[in-house]
Subunit: 470 residues, 2 copies
């Protein structure tokens, strides 16, 4: 096994030799060892457990990346895989002595195939860039999350990212037609088919989607594109109870069908907090118990807009919602989305603060939120705990300002401990290191054993993201 | 290793002891050994390579099934897993000496959860029954294939079935929220969550979906339901070229968006053949080079129907289609679907006949079809080869009446040999045994090696569907 951070001269000499050989596998800009630059690769978006890697390997080609992994495998040297470092679970944060493998120089758009509604890209390209290129061609890559400007497609795939439009388009998994991944030993598995239906043997891409870089490194993907709708419409509505909020979602789904692409819920605690913290203007004269932000794709803009108006006025008439406002322009929509997308900024401003990301059956959500908040107020007084999430997907986020950072563990116990049967400790952020000890809440021992077995099968020397997930 | 069909007395005694013990794990109706009954479990829908199993184990509970597998694993006894026996690739056809494991008594609907848009069922229930139960509750389980009355959910999942509505709802994979599978050694892996988003560790269900029972036996599934649309509309349209047909698909997708749920293509050769063979009435006065059958979901029936009419009349006016007819009633729709759904019956009537199921980029489809048909006519004269398929998904079927059954292998060489890069030898039917030798056309050696490694990892004694897929 590799000697890491060995303080003896022999250990240091071994490390030096290792880095020297590693550097030879890459071009001039391929290996970073300068400590001030290394610091940029020392943690994910949370800033927690900061630790500079031993070095950063930045391959420019898949072939280089393959040789880097083969070499690390040969020497059993642990590697942490890094995309845009926007993760929230510590999965990409290096541990002492690890080499960081950054995909930042593998960021080309390789092919845009309008005939196949498909774009083939390298893993290091940002989500925003992919969205932009698609839009230039009148198409849409519908994966969308607040970190779009920094997160990379490789990271999105490795973590099976979700975001705002899962209701309609699914998670990252549903948007990948073909995939290329490099195995721990350097073997390159290229399967960049662009057809929707392909049952020729096991669909191997699913071993790399959502496994957080523990079974292989995603290097390329053929992404599925959709026609960009003629227009979009954003609705902010309020209700006086959670059950009304659920009723609104059911009504919108029934009457708008798949044109409803997002349905974001915000509890009043969240809504009041975002108004105060970000200094936003209150959209309605009154306060309500719940708010929903819905996005609707318009195919026949005038008609579809009237349909949405009709649904909302029916709901208002029947007293099924408190109030509602529709975006009249793109700027309007952006303004309405601010209530929801400011969550990240709010998290920074309320430090020490933590975010949680769970999913559970909608029928149990209301009671769960109340239980968590009540326990939080009783057991960890002096903080603020607010709830919001992608209601349409059963995905609930908590954002909690703690009195002291030391309370984080006790909060985890409340949030994960109270999760009802059928709930998941991670709806979309993944497990990384921070949720690893809680995995048993959502997974049986048989499942965890199977995951460990697969990890050992794919990466027998455990060089890839060692100690993450399982 | 197990001795199978050993003609010596010792081998027979060992087999008898094995069956006796196997029977003790099941209830009275649990083990079939009578040869006349065994014949019913001797082949899939093709009727090819008929072989009665040694016995049929029909567990009534997952616990019984688990004990059967543990026992077979202990004795390294090969097992073939059987659903509705509607497969077309020989995957469920027993080989000499194998025990057939039938899921037919595990056919309960266990839970219908309207709150979670979900139904939990046992694997042996038929697709038609699931569709029916969903519909009774105003919901839709959108997976749909011609064999709906016989095929089972377990088989649909194990083969990642596709069918008519993949364009809108995806394949079986996309409709499974949670899954239970029994591993080769009898361990039960239960993960029946109903939430859409769950990134708590590796998503293990994908290792059993589409792997044709080689890695584990699917026993239960939590299925995703959708609201049943207010109405449906079927369109039959004709064009004078393949490029017009593609243009029609693009136009419908752009103007109807996701309300378009199916787009089936039929080449004139297919269309004329179905008219003649089934004695159906010609829908248009003229003949055309291509036909499309489209299904549209209507949310606001009157308005949506007018939208479709407008799209079609625009296309007619611009000369983008030859002719078109819209269903005015459910009976009408059924009549139109007959042109497409009679493919199975046509296959029987034209015996010896074979079906092929490939997928490829749409841009290459026209040339590919012409090449295959030209080579067929030149090299295997005296037969009929017609093309149709789920065009929206890049899925193409050939139905070929052969002069003699011996020509089947030569036909495979043409169909798979001419497949362009990026094509798949199996869009939806799977690999089974009949496509195994062709897998290398669509998969690299690295991929096949990885599949074999996974098979050995999950099922080290190769008892599950031994020799299938890889």
């Amino acid at each position: 096994m590799a000697v890491q951070h060995d303080s003896t001269g022999a250990g240091q000499a071994r490390t030096d030799r290792f880095l020297l050989s590693l550097g030879r596998l890459l071009d001039d800009a391929g290996l970073i060892v300068e400590s001030d630059v290394l610091a940029r690769y020392s943690c994910d978006w949370t800033g927690k457990d900061r630790c500079s890697p031993l070095a950063v390997a930045r391959p420019k080609t898949v072939d280089e990346l393959s040789r880097v992994l083969a070499y690390c495998h040969e020497h059993s040297w642990p590697v942490t895989v890094q995309g845009g470092l926007t993760g929230l679970c510590g999965g990409a944060t290096p541990r002492s002595g690890e080499v960081a493998l950054s995909l930042e120089r593998l960021a080309a758009i390789e092919e845009f195939d309008a005939n196949a509604d498909c774009m083939t890209v390298q893993a290091g390209v940002t989500l925003a860039r992919v969205q932009e290129i698609a839009l230039q061609q009148g198409m849409s890559f519908p994966l969308d999350l607040a970190s779009r400007g920094s997160c990379t497609i490789g990271g999105n795939i490795a973590t099976n990212a979700g975001g705002n439009r899962v209701l309609r388009y699914g998670t990252a998994r549903n948007l990948v037609l073909g995939l290329e991944a490099v195995l721990a030993d350097g073997r390159v598995l290229t399967s960049l088919g662009t057809v929707i239906k392909d049952n020729a043997g096991f669909d191997l891409k699913h071993y790399f989607i959502g496994t957080e870089g523990t079974l292989g490194v995603v290097t390329r993907a053929a992404l599925r594109l959709y026609p960009e709708p003629a227009d979009r419409l954003t609705v902010l509505a309020s209700t006086t109870s959670f059950s009304q909020l659920r009723g609104l979602l059911a009504t919108l789904r029934r009457r708008l069908g798949n044109r409803l692409v997002a349905f974001e819920a915000m509890w009043d605690s969240y809504f009041e907090c975002v108004l105060t913290t970000l200094g936003l203007t209150r959209p309605f004269a009154n306060g309500y118990s719940h708010y929903a932000l819905a996005e609707v794709e318009l195919l026949e803009p005038e008609h579809d807009r009237r349909s949405v108006e009709r649904v909302l006025s029916d709901c208002l008439e029947k007293g099924e919602i408190g109030d509602a406002v529709m975006s009249a322009s793109c700027a309007d929509a952006t303004r309405l989305w601010q209530f929801r997308e400011s969550a990240g900024e709010m998290l920074s401003r309320l430090a020490p603060a933590v975010g949680h990301d769970v999913s559970l059956p909608m029928a149990k959500m209301d009671v769960y939120v109340e239980t968590v908040r009540a326990r939080f107020e009783r057991e960890l007084p002096g903080g603020v705990c607010v709830a919001f999430g992608h209601l349409g997907d059963g995905n609930l986020h908590f954002l909690t300002a703690l009195r002291t950072a030391e309370d984080a563990e006790a909060l985890d116990s409340i949030v994960y401990g109270e999760l009802p049967a059928g709930g998941s400790i991670s709806a979309e952020h993944g497990i990384g290191v921070s949720k690893k000890n809680w995995l048993k809440v959502s997974r049986t021992q048989t499942e965890i054993d199977l995951m460990r077995g697969l990890k050992a099968h794919f990466d027998p020397r455990a060089i890839l993201n060692r100690g993450r997930v399982v």
